[in-house]
Symmetry: C2
Subunit: 488 residues, 2 copies
C-alpha cells in the first residue's frame, strides 16, 4: 500500500491528495468542489469537535442553530461583508422541480420562483444579527455567548480536500457584548483557545497574530489568526477570531439600554475553525508512508496484531492488554482478521496513522515480550509483557510530545529574517517558510510584495518586538517585523 503514495520530495500536492485518499479521509463527490468526508476522516473531526465544544462550554458559551439560508438583501447590509462574499455564493432561486413537458427529465418549475433569492450561508453574521435584534433589549441580555456547529458554502474556484472546499463543516461563534473592551477580550480569549487546541491537541505549533487590513475578515475591525507552517513551507491560516466592533449591530440596528438607560449599539465578535484543521493536521505530521496522527486526536490509538494469526496463547495476552488499555481510556483494537497477513496490516495501520502498533508473535511470547512500533518515528522495540500496558500508555504521551517538538523544530528551521528584498524573495523562492521582515504598513506595498513573490503577510505577531526598520520593498519606515509566507 505505502508504495502507492507519491513521495513529498517528488510532488507535495500529489502526496497530500494520496494521503487523503489512501488513509480513507475523504473522497471526491459528484458535486464540484464538495468532498465526502469518509468515516476515518470524520472520526478525527468528531474528536476535534468534542474537545473544542467542551472548551467553548467551559468558557460560558452555549450552542444554538440558525437557518442555512440567508435572504439576499441581508448580505448587502454590511458594506465590506457583501464585498467579501457576494462573488462566491450558492444562490437558491426556486423551490420546486417538475417534469419537463418535452419529456427530458426534470426541470426547474418557473412558477416556483422565489420572491427574494436565498443565499446558502457562507458565514452567519447577517442572519444571526438579524435575530439578535429581537433577543437583545437591555444590558441584562448581554453578553450573549452563542456558538453553532454547521455547514457553510463558499463557491471556490480551486478546491482541495479539507483545505478549501465549496462546502465545509465548521463552528462559528457569534457573541454580543455591552462594551468594546469586553468584546475584544472575548475575541482574544477565543484566539487563545484556538492556539492551545492547535498546540496541545493537534501538536501543531502556531504563530498568534493580527491580520493586516487587507487580510481581515470582511466586516471586522480586527482579525486575530493562528498561522501554522506546513511541511512544504507554506502557511495555513488555521483559525480566526474577529472583533467586529459595532459594524453588524449598526447594519441590523441592534441596540440595548445600558445601566444608565441610554441606548447604545451592541459590540460583537465572531470566530471559527473548520474541517480545514484536518488538512493542517495531515500536512504537519504525515510522511511518505501515510498519515501520522497525534494520539489525542487519533480515533484508534493502539492496534494489536497477532503474528502470524490469532491463537489461544496470543489471544489471551492480547485480550488482557486490550482490557488494561481500555481501562486507561485508550482506544484499542485487536485485529483478528485472518484474511490479511501481518505485513499487510502493518502497512494499512501505518497508512491510517494509528500511533502505536503492538505485534504479538508466538516466538516473542516464549521470550515474554511483544514488539511495539511507534508511528511517528517508525521505531520498533521489544518490550516485556510485564508492564506492557503502562509502557504503551507512556509511549502515547511521548509520541504526542515528540510530534509537537518535531514540528516546532521544523518551524524554527524554516523561519527566517530578511532585511533586503533580494534575500527575501530568494528565501521564498528557494526554501519557503516564514519570513520575518519589515513592512511600511501600507496595503499598496503588501499587494506589490504579493505580486512579486506570491507571499502575503500572514500576521503581525502579537509577540513581536517593536524595532525600527526599513520596509523590505519601499525602504520606508517600519515599526516592527511582520510575518510573510506563501499561504494555502
Amino acid at each position: 500500500m505505502a508504495k502507492e503514495i507519491t513521495p513529498r520530495s517528488q510532488d507535495y500536492s500529489q502526496w497530500y491528495l494520496d494521503i487523503v485518499k489512501k488513509a480513507g479521509l475523504a473522497d471526491n463527490s459528484a458535486v464540484r468542489g464538495c468532498m465526502v468526508i469518509k468515516p476515518h476522516g470524520f472520526a478525527i473531526w468528531e474528536k476535534m469537535v468534542a474537545i473544542l465544544d467542551q472548551k467553548f462550554k467551559d468558557s460560558g458559551h452555549v450552542n444554538a442553530y440558525f437557518p442555512l439560508f440567508i435572504p439576499k438583501s441581508f448580505l448587502s447590509r454590511e458594506a465590506q461583508h457583501v464585498d467579501g462574499f457576494a462573488k462566491e455564493c450558492a444562490v437558491v432561486t426556486h423551490h420546486r422541480l417538475k417534469a419537463d413537458p418535452n419529456g427530458n427529465g426534470l426541470i426547474v418549475d418557473p412558477d416556483a420562483k422565489l420572491e427574494e433569492e436565498l443565499i446558502v450561508r457562507p458565514t452567519s453574521e447577517t442572519i444571526i444579527w438579524s435575530t439578535y435584534k429581537d433577543w437583545i433589549q437591555s444590558y441584562r441580555d448581554l453578553p450573549l455567548l452563542i456558538n453553532q456547529w454547521a455547514n457553510v458554502v463558499r463557491w471556490e474556484m480551486r478546491t482541495r480536500p479539507f483545505l478549501r472546499t465549496t462546502e465545509f463543516l465548521w463552528q462559528e461563534g457569534h457573541t454580543a457584548h455591552a462594551t468594546r473592551d469586553e468584546a475584544i477580550a472575548e475575541s482574544l480569549m477565543i484566539h487563545d483557545i484556538y492556539a492551545d487546541f492547535a498546540e496541545s491537541y493537534m501538536a501543531m505549533p502556531v504563530v498568534k497574530g493580527v491580520k493586516t487590513v487587507n487580510e481581515r475578515f470582511a466586516g471586522a475591525i480586527d482579525t486575530y489568526t493562528i498561522e501554522a507552517l506546513m511541511q512544504d513551507g507554506r502557511s495555513l491560516q488555521a483559525g480566526t477570531s474577529h472583533f467586529l466592533g459595532q459594524n453588524f449591530a449598526k447594519a441590523f440596528d441592534v441596540t440595548f439600554l445600558n445601566e444608565n438607560n441610554q441606548k447604545e449599539f451592541v459590540w460583537a465578535t465572531s470566530w471559527g475553525v473548520s474541517t480545514r484543521l484536518i488538512g493542517g493536521l495531515i500536512m504537519t505530521h504525515s510522511d511518505d508512508e501515510g498519515l501520522v496522527l497525534p494520539p489525542k486526536l487519533a480515533p484508534l490509538q493502539v492496534v494489536i496484531i497477532p503474528v502470524p494469526k490469532p491463537d489461544p496463547l496470543i489471544n489471551e495476552v492480547a485480550e488482557k492488554l486490550v482490557k488494561e488499555l481500555k481501562a486507561k481510556g485508550i482506544s484499542v483494537k485487536y485485529d483478528t482478521d485472518e484474511k490479511s497477513r501481518p505485513g499487510f496490516k502493518y502497512a494499512e495501520y501505518e497508512m491510517k496513522g494509528v500511533p502505536v502498533r503492538v505485534a504479538i508473535g508466538q516466538r516473542d511470547l516464549e521470550k515474554n515480550q511483544a514488539e511495539v512500533a511507534r508511528r511517528d518515528t517508525r521505531e520498533k522495540e521489544f518490550i516485556p509483557l510485564d508492564g506492557l500496558g503502562t509502557y504503551v500508555e507512556n509511549l502515547l504521551q511521548h509520541i504526542q510530545e515528540n510530534l509537537l517538538l518535531r514540528s516546532l523544530r521544523f518551524r524554527q528551521e524554516n523561519t527566517f529574517e530578511a532585511d533586503d528584498f533580494a534575500t527575501f524573495a530568494d528565501i521564498l523562492d528557494k526554501k519557503g517558510g516564514f519570513v520575518s521582515a519589515h513592512w511600511d504598513g501600507t496595503t499598496e506595498t503588501e499587494l506589490k510584495i504579493k505580486e512579486l513573490t506570491k507571499a502575503t503577510i500572514r500576521c503581525i505577531p502579537l509577540e513581536r518586538k517593536m524595532e525600527e526598520g526599513k520596509c523590505i520593498l519601499t525602504g520606508n519606515k517600519s515599526e516592527g517585523r511582520v510575518l510573510f509566507a506563501k499561504a494555502y
Copy 2:
C-alpha cells in the same frame, strides 16, 4: 410568565407555539419556514444526539459526511423517489451575486448560471448511493454501516416549529448489505433502537408498525415507523426505518461480487429521526404551565433556589447539595441571581421544564429541611436535609417513570376499536386518538377514508393479532386491524 401560555383546552395549536416560544426552544427566522433553534431547545437536541449516536456506534455504525447538494439529474434516477421529493426542493441555480448595474443592491449574476442545477438535499439516498458505487466492489466491502448527522431542506407549504420546518436537523443512516435478509434485519434493528429511545429516554410510548404502500417512503419496499399519540389525539410519526430493497442499487448501478464471484445488486436500508422529536417531546408531556421534560433529556435536571436570597447558611447547604448531585452525574444549578424574586424563578424554571426544584429557605433550615417540588405533578414536599441528595436522585428516576406511565395511560384511554364507519368517524371527530379498525388493504379505500375523516393509516402494527373482519368503509374482507389517526 405562566399566565401567558394559552391553555390547551382553549387552543391546542397556540398552546404549542406558546411553549416553544416562552420556554426558549425556538424562534421564527427571517427565512420562510426556517426556525432558529435557541440554546435551550438545542441543548435538548444535543442530549438526544449524544444518546442516539452512542446507540448507533454500539451497533456497529460509523459516521461520515456527504455533500449538501445533489445534482438535479440524480433525483430522477429512482422513479418513486423523485415523485416524492421534486415538488419541495430548494434549487441552487447560480453561484455568484453582483452589484446591480442600475444601483439597486445585489442581483444574481446571469453569467454565473450553473450548468446543472443543484438541489439542497431533502434526504441523501441519491448522493450517497452514487458514492457507494465507488466504495463497494466485493462482499468483503459489506455491510457498509454509515450514519450522518446533517441538515436537510424540504420546501413545506405549512410549517410549525420542530414538527414541520423547511430546514431541519436529523440523522440519516444509509446501509448496504449483501443479502435481503440482512438488510431487513438492519432496518428492524434500527426500528427497535428508535422505539427504545422514544420510550426509555423520551418517556414517549410508541406503536411499532409498518406503513401501507401509500404512506411509504418514496423509494422504499417497506417503511417501519414508530407512532406516538399526542395530547390532542393526533399521531406523530416519530421515526422511520426503510428497507429499500435493491431500488437505489439498481438506480445507481451498485453491484458487488459475492463469495461465488457472481455479480449482484446491493441491498439497502435508510433510517432517520429529526428535530421533530423535540415537538413530540413537548406535546407528550407539557402542560399549561410550560414545558415538562423527562429527566434523561433535561439539559438542567435540578435547580436550587435560595429563599428569599442567598446567605451564608443557605449557600453552605446548597453548595453541598450541588457537589453531591454533580458527583452522581446529575446536572444542577444553584441560582444565586438576586435580581429576581423566588416566585419569578419558580415560574421560569417550570416554564423551562426543569424536573426538580429545591427551595432552601431560612425558616426551613431551622427545621433541617428543604422544599422539593417535582415538575411533572407540581407536588411539593418538605424533605430532611439529611439524605436530600439521595432523595432528589430517586425522585428524578420516579419522574422519568411517571412520565412514561402517564403517557401510556393517556394512550390507553385514547385508543379505540371501531367496527362500523359511523362509530369510527364519530370517534375521530369528537375525541381523536388511535382508532383500530379493519381495512380492505387497498389504497383506494385508504384515500377515501382520509377524504371523509382526515384520518390516515398510521401503521399496520407489528404486534397486531390476525383476525378476519370487514373493512370499515367497504365491508370487504380484512385480515386484521390497522391503526388510524389524524396525524401531524
